[in-house]
Point group: C2
Chain length 430, copies 2
Amino acid sequence: MMRTRPLKVALLGCGVVGSEVARIMTTHADDLTARVGAPVELAGVAVRRPDRVREGIAPELVTTDATALVKRGDIDVVVEVIGGIEPARGLITTAFEHGASVVSANKALLAQDGAALHAAAEEHGRDLYYEAAVAGAIPLIRPLRESLAGDKINRVMGIVNGTTNFILDKMDSSGAGYQEALDEATALGYAEADPTADVEGFDAAAKAAILAGIAFHTRVRLDDVYREGMTEVTAADFASAKEMGCTIKLLAICERAEDGASVTARVHPAMIPLSHPLASVRGAYNAVFVESDAAGQLMFYGPGAGGSPTASAVLGDLVAVCRNRLSGTTGPGESAYAALPVSPMGDVVTRYHISLDVADKPGVLAQVATVFAEHGVSIDTVRQSGKDGEASLVVVTHRASDAALTGTVEALRKLDTVRGVASIMRVEGE
Amino acid sequence: MMRTRPLKVALLGCGVVGSEVARIMTTHADDLTARVGAPVELAGVAVRRPDRVREGIAPELVTTDATALVKRGDIDVVVEVIGGIEPARGLITTAFEHGASVVSANKALLAQDGAALHAAAEEHGRDLYYEAAVAGAIPLIRPLRESLAGDKINRVMGIVNGTTNFILDKMDSSGAGYQEALDEATALGYAEADPTADVEGFDAAAKAAILAGIAFHTRVRLDDVYREGMTEVTAADFASAKEMGCTIKLLAICERAEDGASVTARVHPAMIPLSHPLASVRGAYNAVFVESDAAGQLMFYGPGAGGSPTASAVLGDLVAVCRNRLSGTTGPGESAYAALPVSPMGDVVTRYHISLDVADKPGVLAQVATVFAEHGVSIDTVRQSGKDGEASLVVVTHRASDAALTGTVEALRKLDTVRGVASIMRVEGE
């Protein structure tokens, strides 16, 4: 198997992840050679700021001209760890055109343009791998795409954003409010200065689109993913969750409808029972729960971000892509043959926990219960507590469609006796 | 990609797993065709008892002559779910000689003869896949072999036998003794009539050998795995574990030595802290915890046995092997280039929990402590309790080699004041 010509790798981006990829390629060169069957050589590193000292990277490899690097023609694999849409998209396309395979960690790009990039890879007979784009070091894309290739996946539900899990875990364990927990996450480096992408669920939604596409062999675009952030989760919500034996997590949920004819993908905070394996995922860790026909329930757990973990996923892909090149083949490409329709959020069926501020007088519960009944939403439990003429009513429903629940809440708001809807939270994992 | 000639599959064995493989191949035929790129056809099923009714399998496919089936020459993939050493070994070798690739679920055979079978596969340019051999449906071999191919795995620690986990979980939750819990496991079908392979750790040891081989790129034979069953774990041990904030699990542990120059593999019951992710693995579930340089800590969780879960793993391999055949390539074969020595159990370094029955008189603790010190085993905590002239002494050590601990215990047994060594249990996961 061993041959002398090394496989040449171009690295685009040399930040937290890229520098770790370069470091491991150097320090573990012998292992990589043995595992690939040929030496793997770092042939160029494209950076924005060439003046920054990059330990262990020969200065002559560093360039600011990423386009020229991917056009060189002798590059076997381009590793893209720049992130964002452009210039990453153009560079990847150019890489395929010039004969290279690509390993990417770019969830935003894959979620938005995965289909076009896969098509470009296939047109040129090259690989596009991106294990690092979802849940960092956790092997997830390969298991879904390959290990479960003979099974039928019905549901993928996961904690795929470490920043928000850190914040929610903090709120749960300390009773802190959202802002206080966010401040701590920022101070400790778990949250970025602008945390929008994380706390508003954009990051998780991109991952949900990628996961749903692979799990259901169906193209799922970022726009197909319902998204609700976690900035409005309060300490009171956590108190309510505790009363139900639950905690709150920001979940990415990809589901096949019960009739199998459509799929949904969504990101929102939800209550889950403490007994559920996802409930005990602490700090910035990620975990993804997969349910399939034959395998049953599987869970994959690990660090969802960080330079080293992400580099581990990138390097696993790099070895696979290098092996494919040596044997003149490619791995599995996009699989979208099922082409199931993606249903809107209104079609999602789940349970709900609703907190209402109501007038403390006889007949209110009857009025509220009537509204639920009129919208076909069956009530599981009601808890009423009151003082000083004001009362709160907590309703937990049986399974109902999101559309029916939305209609219910609209009607409730119109009741004179309902002063306000304090919170609505979905209940998952039961 | 689509072509007309179907890929032909021979199924050896049609018991709990085999019948499920055949069923899914039939009911999910269209999905398999789409995922492989060509139809996948069940071309023959070798069984011992041809008279048994096999729903959904055309009678003309059934044969008792497995050898003739694998020799047919038109078989692309042989799926071996017979188990045991012979005739499985001979049939797999014959399959390679006649041009077929092989998917096997046979942990005993892989652990004993993996190197020879891999060599046969390579000689004939064929694949040997066996995801189902370890931890049933949990994708584990592919992630270790491929996803972590660019990383350095330092430790694999797992619950890889569902029967023993069911028994230990029962003992933990109900306070039952070993025999009572075993009886319940047998009654519920979790334990076989002869549970030896499970409770004495033979099954887990085979899996440990396979996992260690893959994780460390080193041949690890079944004989290299230290093995201790869990039949002597008592309700008293669980009580002691609880006092330490621990539970007891039968663990398969594969470790790289701290200097990186050797590896060890072992199976034995051990105390682990309740805070460790493996502690909350309930019932017959399996879970494997992996620690690597770059990825950090990962965990894989799911059903470790059963017809459907095992069939899911077999079918995942079947799709991969079929895809390889279509593209005229093979997946990663045996990787044993590191060829690290496998150290004996005496070299393993861990912590220990030792219960001693001692005379209740002054000076006993000093005597005991001296013995530990003479053997270089440092004590972490001691708990002494006594009544009626008899006392018990519970010692928890710092990390020490198994050889040092064995020497310590031998010397303790010789002390007049030590009436007996009630139990010795390793403490892991801290």
